[in-house]
């Protein structure tokens, strides 16, 4: 039996790592969309994060500096999107697509000299006794700190949206920007801040790929992770924990199909490679298809430009 050669503990450990970059990007985009902005530039911001994080980490020797740089890099690119869509009132869909193309091209340009280099290693977090628990220790408690911080971030975003006043204002702006403006909230300010948060998260997700998951810099290395993050947000009905479940499902299938490839299953490699995308979207569609339930949660002003005219 081929599956017998796959160790479940290793599988779980690997899926958490595989899911983290997508989850980071998705949770950032979730906030952006909750504020009523559709930023399709996630892929571009991720890859910019991947390359800036990589360059800074290699030159400074510190993965931490790399991650900070990646967040700032992603944020810088998102500010370009904010400038286009919030100040210059351009179309969000077109601007987002342009942002992705721009990010892919720019990252290839500035990353030219860094192909083939190994980045400084990010240490695994030492959790002492926890790591010694059989199975769980290997599967769940043997990761780098970013994996845990990402889970904490999902919790923080969930709490922020559900319980904090700032989160309520953000939802209000995304739900009905005219009403929010009428009550005296700064629609554009809220949206620019949300876009920046989304950019920083996407940047971190990209850096996780280039500094930990792969770890190397290659051109176009995000291979659609940003698009999966975007799909996750929609199919998770804009709920943080559901987005996390979706990301872990995607990570799980990615790892499983890699293992199956390695084990030499007689399914063409192309089918295995496309399976994570197919399965994740299929499962999420089924979950969110409960008759208009999913769309009920969609922010009312999503992708509608706001202009304070009267």
């Amino acid at each position: 039996m081929i599956l017998g050669s796959i160790n479940p503990a290793v599988l779980v450990a690997a899926l958490m790592v595989a899911a983290t970059p997508i989850l980071l990007a998705a949770i950032g985009e979730l906030i952006v969309e909750k504020a009523g902005v559709l930023n399709l530039g996630v892929e571009g911001m991720m890859i910019i994060g991947a390359v800036t994080g990589f360059i800074i980490a290699v030159n400074s020797g510190s993965p931490l500096m790399g991650f900070i740089g990646a967040a700032l890099g992603g944020m810088a690119l998102s500010l370009l999107f904010a400038l286009l869509t919030q100040a210059l009132m351009t179309n969000q869909v077109a601007s987002g697509l342009a942002l992705t193309l721009f990010g892919l091209g720019l990252s290839a340009l500035i990353g030219q000299k860094y192909v083939g280099i190994t980045p400084p290693r990010t240490p695994k977090l030492d959790l002492g006794l926890l790591s010694d628990i059989p199975f769980l220790g290997r599967a769940v408690f043997s990761h780098d700190i970013v994996v845990y911080l990402t889970i904490a971030l999902v919790g923080a975003v969930w709490w922020f949206l559900k319980y904090s006043r700032a989160g309520m204002i953000l939802r209000a702006v995304g739900e009905n920007h005219d009403a929010a403006h009428g009550l005296g909230y700064h629609v554009k300010r809220v949206r620019v801040l949300a876009i920046m948060f989304g950019g920083a998260c996407a940047g971190l997700g990209g850096a996780y790929l280039s500094l930990i998951r792969v770890p190397q810099w290659t051109e176009g290395m995000t291979v659609g992770a940003g698009w999966i993050a975007l799909a996750l947000v929609v199919f998770a009905s804009w709920r943080p924990w559901r987005a996390m479940a979706g990301a872990y499902l995607f990570g799980g299938v990615v790892v499983l199909q890699l293992n199956l490839q390695a084990a030499g299953v007689r399914i063409p490699v192309e089918y295995l490679s496309m399976s994570p995308y197919l399965i994740t979207i299929l499962v999420l569609v089924i979950i969110s298809s409960g008759k208009a339930r999913g769309s009920l949660n969609a922010p009312g002003s999503l992708n509608r430009p706001f202009h304070a005219s009267s």
Binding site: R171, A179, G182, G184, Y185, L296, S310
Partner: protein
């Protein structure tokens, strides 16, 4: 004379191309019910936006309690005791009642305490509300309560109400007035914006009338007749539409026991709707917003397909046909939302004329558009319905609400239909344009077409309808002759005031 609360001195605000307010001055006393009266576009909204800090005046001063008052933003106005209930509610469908209230407050208490205070205040003023419900599920009347409660929680000194009764049943209006009188007796001044004269005469003790951005008079509305007020407001003498008497003809449209799910998660599904419409008949359908009007229009126009035999046009089943198929057979429709539904905002009037008329008027042949013919068709509409615009090349977006409404209704009437369905034909349209539109509908009925008017304006329905029905939570009442119906009867047909009665009786 009461102590003055708010004094306005020479407020002026100009937008590019239009002076919205020109040197407006008046005073509101403490606890006074002050009406602000004017047509659409007279500058009422701009004026109250200045008081509420949403718009900054170009010139002029305001004094509150004798001190200079120049709010730079709404939160500053709220801190000074000015609260506002908006015409288009400033509510968030996907948030619950308590969250909606909290968003309109400066320093809201924790949500749990707030829920209790919402219950207390809503009971005290006879406005029952459940703080945990999603606003998207509430009726228009309940949504307005959310807005009012939001204001009351902040102990306002001045409460601005922008057209508050346009979405209420007559019974709900009575209860709102009870609440407002109670507030006024407790010393809260109310600035009441409306163009409904009888309401103002019943409620207010002073009225300021605006026309074209200028103040034309301040008077005691109880001492003027509704007619005098209307003429001050409009600046001309109005004639009610004429209706030629005619015998009833054959049935042109029949809907038989139709139930249809809404296409909108917050919408209202139609339940067992039946009615018939005859040649030359004007059927008025009343109802508070959100009781299935949109769905009824979509179903009749063909945008929401229905089981084929349930909808019959001149005896033919048409339920399965889309809008183009029905239009070809002689059924046309003009929806409520002018921009984006009836007309494409960024297309010219010519193109918009083409969109609905191409097949019936033969404006396209073999897939090619005959632009010359289309443009002359658009010109005909513009000329016949007195659409004020430089020409048919103008974008639909650039027209004022009333002018665009004349265009989209005129476009359908020019198709010479057998049945026309209109939803809110004169909503937000000034009195002169409204009279033109009503007259055009009556003329069409006079020529033998069946006319179905869905509207929330009861006066309009009583003025033009032969028969009358009401929508209530997706159910249509039996059709009754319009002659002899009182406003009370209609209110009961529309579903009365629901649970609000009980609360007021309990607190009385």
């Amino acid at each position: 004379m009461r102590a003055p609360l708010l004094r306005l001195d020479g407020l002026t605000k100009a937008y590019p191309g239009v002076v919205a307010n020109d040197d407006v001055s008046f005073e509101i006393g403490e606890g006074q019910m002050h009406a602000l009266l004017g047509e659409n576009g007279a500058g009422k909204s701009t004026l109250v936006k200045m008081i509420y800090g949403l718009v900054k005046p170009d010139k002029g001063r305001m004094h509150l309690h004798g001190k200079p008052f120049a709010p730079a933003k709404p939160s500053e106005a709220r801190r000074n005791g000015v609260a506002m209930v908006f015409q288009h509610f400033s509510l968030f469908d996907a948030l619950d009642v308590a969250e909606n209230v909290a968003l309109g407050m400066e320093n809201p208490p924790p949500l749990r305490d707030l829920a209790q205070r919402i219950r207390d205040v809503s009971e005290e003023y006879g406005l029952p509300l459940d703080p945990a419900r999603l606003v998207g599920e509430l009726s228009a009347g309940e949504r307005q309560r959310v807005e009012i409660v939001r204001c009351l929680l902040q102990d306002p000194k001045l409460l601005i109400m922008d057209e508050p009764t346009s979405v209420l049943t007559p019974q709900e209006v009575d209860i709102l007035f009870l609440t407002l009188r109670k507030l006024s007796a407790e010393g809260t001044a109310i600035l009441y914006i409306s163009h409904k004269l009888e309401e103002i005469r019943a409620l207010c003790d002073e009225a300021t009338i605006l026309r074209g951005g200028r103040k034309v008079a301040t008077c005691d509305p109880r001492e003027k007749s509704a007619r005098e007020l209307a003429e001050l407001m409009v600046g001309q003498v109005l004639t009610p539409p004429e209706r030629p008497a005619k015998p009833k003809g054959d049935v042109v449209l029949q809907v038989d026991n139709l139930s249809l799910a809404s296409n909108n998660p917050f919408g209202t599904s139609l339940k067992n709707v039946s009615f018939t419409l005859r040649k030359g008949e004007v059927l008025g359908i009343a109802g508070v917003a959100g009781n299935g009007q949109d769905e009824l229009l979509l179903m009749l126009s063909g945008e929401l397909p229905a089981p084929s035999v349930r909808v019959q046009l001149k005896g033919k089943p048409v339920g399965h046909l889309g809008p183009n198929g029905r239009r070809l057979l002689g059924l046309v429709a003009a929806p409520e939302e002018r921009l984006g539904h009836a007309a494409a905002p960024d297309m010219s009037l010519t193109a918009n004329a083409l969109l609905s008329a191409s097949r019936r008027k033969g404006l396209a042949k073999h897939g090619f558009i005959d632009w010359r013919k289309t443009e002359s068709f658009a010109r005909d509409i513009i000329a016949r319905f007195d659409v004020r615009t430089p020409g048919p090349h103008v974008l639909a977006r650039a027209l004022s609400g009333g002018n665009l409404q004349k265009f989209v209704i005129g476009r359908e009437i020019e198709l010479d239909p057998d049945v026309i369905i209109v939803n809110q034909p004169t909503w937000g349209v000034d009195a002169a344009a409204a009279a033109t539109i009503r007259q055009a509908l009556l003329d069409l009925a006079g020529k033998g077409a069946g006319v179905l008017v869905i509207s929330q304006d009861l006066d309009e329905l009583l003025e033009i309808s032969d028969s009358f029905a009401a929508l209530n939570e997706g159910r249509l009442t039996d059709t009754r002759p319009a002659k002899g119906l009182s406003v009370e009867d209609i209110g009961l047909m529309m579903g009365g005031a629901g649970d609000m009665h009980v609360a007021h009786e309990a607190s009385a």
